[in-house]
Symmetry: C2
Subunit: 449 residues, 2 copies
């Protein structure tokens, strides 16, 4: 339709579409048409659509529109969206955009850009509904009807005193059902029911609070308890997903990256992965040395070496299962470091059950395979393998529940103590157990090398 | 204070506290005091506090209060909270509770209990603000001021026609800024801007929609497009955390469980883990057979066996890193199955870089260790190990990005194709490569067994 210049038809279609869908549509088409479509947007929705665009599309649009258009766009955007956009684009674009905005907007944006990454200040917005606590319900509603269009969230209003200090919150529903003439102070939620965060609080802490108290938005205050902004739940949902992704990445021993996989360059992907691969490869050398050490003595006993991968894998998997549960429990606050002994006692019992089941099945499997394959594996080897299996699973589960909790106690990230790390440690331990037991059997005369 | 009978002081304190904190307080004290505290709660907050209690505390409270109290409690609760509670407690408690409620409430609850687990119907609530689309703004506001107290969410209102069919949504802010006399129909968002879900949609799909469109609540309609309920964002946040936990568990090959770790019994933990441990243990047998097969020929070449764990671990870790990124990308919708060849090409390049780096470092390490330990490992062994390393990493990364996408194409859960599964497969492949290359070197005369 663009090529046929059917602009007014397009305009009508755009008016009926959801802003998120428009943003997706614009991202999916060629960069020349992107700007054309963007210019056809109704005045009141272009800022919103712009906030939903990918950073590279935002850049394309900014580079193709006039300074006046830039000014209108940025002034119409919510501060948190404008800051998000400016954090992603190159410095020269930032300079050009900031040059077009009013001094007031520029000051606010600059202040936001100075908050530490991932702090409450960096994700908050300033377009909230704040009223003096001595106002009447009627004045507040009148004011709200006049200004609601410019607020990011009016579902909860905030009450402040003469020093702009936060003194209470007032859900919109309480406001509109209140009797005419009521003073806000008398119906607002204050004291213990007033929940707020500090500008420097970590976004993960903020997300935890919003989730715990089922809030639609949380007020952000500075060190003097002055209301400086709010964080709305839609941004919290993004924080939660971001933090989860970070945990997934850490658990696979990747350096966390905030970028979309398909847009991340090969070199960046390489850099995020190689560090831990190298560390773990070097660590696995010790496991190799253990094998080498016992090789001369044990390699001649049929069937012994063949069980190494099975023992190592089962140990790693057992440890991985526990550590995942513990890491997740710690992250969600269901498990505390003080629960360690309860966790350990539970895990030891689970490990005994798992270890015995695996040993029994494995014994059967070895027996059948010997019969089928006519191999010469001696029965005592079965006992060595199965005994090692039980002990390996118990130790793997112990390590798997201990390391994440230990990491938490040492103020390290428990997510690092996941599968790959546990596997490397358990591998070495399981081989030591295995060869130790085999040596004992040889010394006792049950096995002949 | 309870022991001193200072009930009115306690009452005053409770009045000032947040309901979530009260629920936590009640959960932390002895079961006798739980009921006492619960009875001291202000009438209008006891239902809310009750919804935040843990299921076992809810049961304790229900077993200690009168039938009249139960009736009031359940009638005051939001339907979704009442259903959540009834799903967790034993059947006899459910029967007693339902016997006390009004016929109307009972019918609604029973209907909810019949929706499939994890469907939109099972998590929705019926206490929404719905207006006929031909009403005026004034009538709607009057109605809302009268009934807001009983609604779970009024931040978005829903417009219906004579058949209760959903025809539009109306954010509260649009309603309160609208001019007096305006008909809802003329200001509501309809057509493409009206987003709704079906009662049978999966909660994960619902969460995805709410997240994508930054909604505070989403309307739920039946097959005839009649409005039957809404799902609010606080429940969506819980769904997101639940789905993430499920993915974490699946990726560690645990059967997913919705219970809190510390409250899960040993037998249940055992059952959730043993299935996959057994399957993977049996699978690792093949890796063992590969070792056994080559053992006779190769065991005598110094240094060859010692590198097995390092190769296996590095392969597993490399594959795990990719599969985690792909699984997460598929879950968040950043990667689609149609992106497979882009992903593969990217991964092959990353793998070559990673493989070469690891091989170079490993070559250095072997060289130094030989010098330090005066071992007899021949230089050709170094080449066998390093060449295998490069090939293993490339194949591991290929498998790591292929299996999750393949699983998605086959409508299996990609999360299963994570670390443990990839490791088991890559182990066997890496050994085949390793022994294959060693055999080639022997045949070419570079290595002498």
């Amino acid at each position: 339709m663009l090529s046929e210049n059917k602009y007014s038809t397009i305009k009508d279609i755009l008016r009926e579409m959801n802003t998120v869908d428009i943003a997706q549509l614009i991202s999916d088409i060629g960069s020349e048409d992107q700007v054309k479509i963007f210019r056809l947007l109704p005045k009141n929705s272009s800022a919103e659509v712009f906030s939903y665009l990918e950073p590279d599309t935002q850049e394309t649009v900014i580079n193709s529109i006039t300074n006046v258009e830039i000014r209108n766009l940025v002034e119409d955007m919510f501060v948190d969206d404008a800051v998000d956009f400016l954090e992603e684009v190159p410095a020269n674009v930032v300079t050009r955009v900031l040059a077009q905005t009013s001094r007031e907007t520029r000051e606010i944006i600059n202040k936001f850009l100075r908050y530490p990454e991932d702090s409450a200040g960096s994700i908050m917005t300033v377009e909230m509904a704040a009223f003096h606590c001595e106002m009447t319900v009627d004045d507040a509603i009148t004011d709200l009807r006049r200004t609601a269009q410019d607020k990011e969230s009016i579902e909860t209003c905030y009450c402040i005193d003469n020093q702009r200090k936060l003194v209470g919150v007032l859900p919109l529903r309480k406001l509109i059902v209140a009797k005419s003439g009521t003073v806000l102070e008398s119906i607002m939620l204050d004291d213990d029911r007033l929940i707020s965060v500090n500008t420097l609080d970590d976004q993960e802490t903020v997300a935890e609070i919003v989730r715990k108290y089922d809030l639609l938005s949380v007020p952000v205050v500075d060190n003097e308890n002055r209301l400086v902004g709010i964080i709305t739940i839609d941004d919290i949902v993004d924080v939660i997903q971001e933090e989860n992704t970070e945990d997934f990445e850490k658990m696979a021993l990747l350096l966390p990256s905030e970028e979309n996989y398909l847009k991340t360059g090969v070199l960046r992907l390489y850099r995020n992965r190689i560090v831990w691969l190298l560390i773990l490869m070097i660590s696995a050398t010790f496991t190799g040395m253990i094998i080498e050490n016992f090789e001369d003595k044990l390699a001649l006993i049929a069937g012994l070496t063949a069980c190494i991968p099975m023992l190592m894998d089962t140990g790693g998997n057992s440890g991985n299962q526990v550590s995942t549960l513990i890491i997740r429990g710690l992250a969600l606050g269901n498990i505390k470091t003080s629960d360690y002994f309860r966790v350990l006692w539970k895990e030891i019992r689970v490990a005994v059950l798992c270890g015995l089941s695996l040993a029994v099945v494995n014994f059967g499997r070895m027996w059948i395979m010997r019969a089928v394959l006519h191999s010469e594996t001696a029965t005592p080897v079965f006992f060595v393998v199965c005994l090692s299996m039980v002990l390996t699973v118990i130790i793997a589960k112990t390590i798997g529940c201990t390391l994440p909790i230990l990491a938490k106690l040492l103020h390290l990230d428990p997510a690092l103590m996941a599968g790959p790390m546990i596997t490397t440690i358990v591998d070495a331990v399981s081989l030591l157990i295995y060869f130790g037991i085999a040596t004992l059997f040889i010394q006792a005369g049950y096995l002949i090398a």
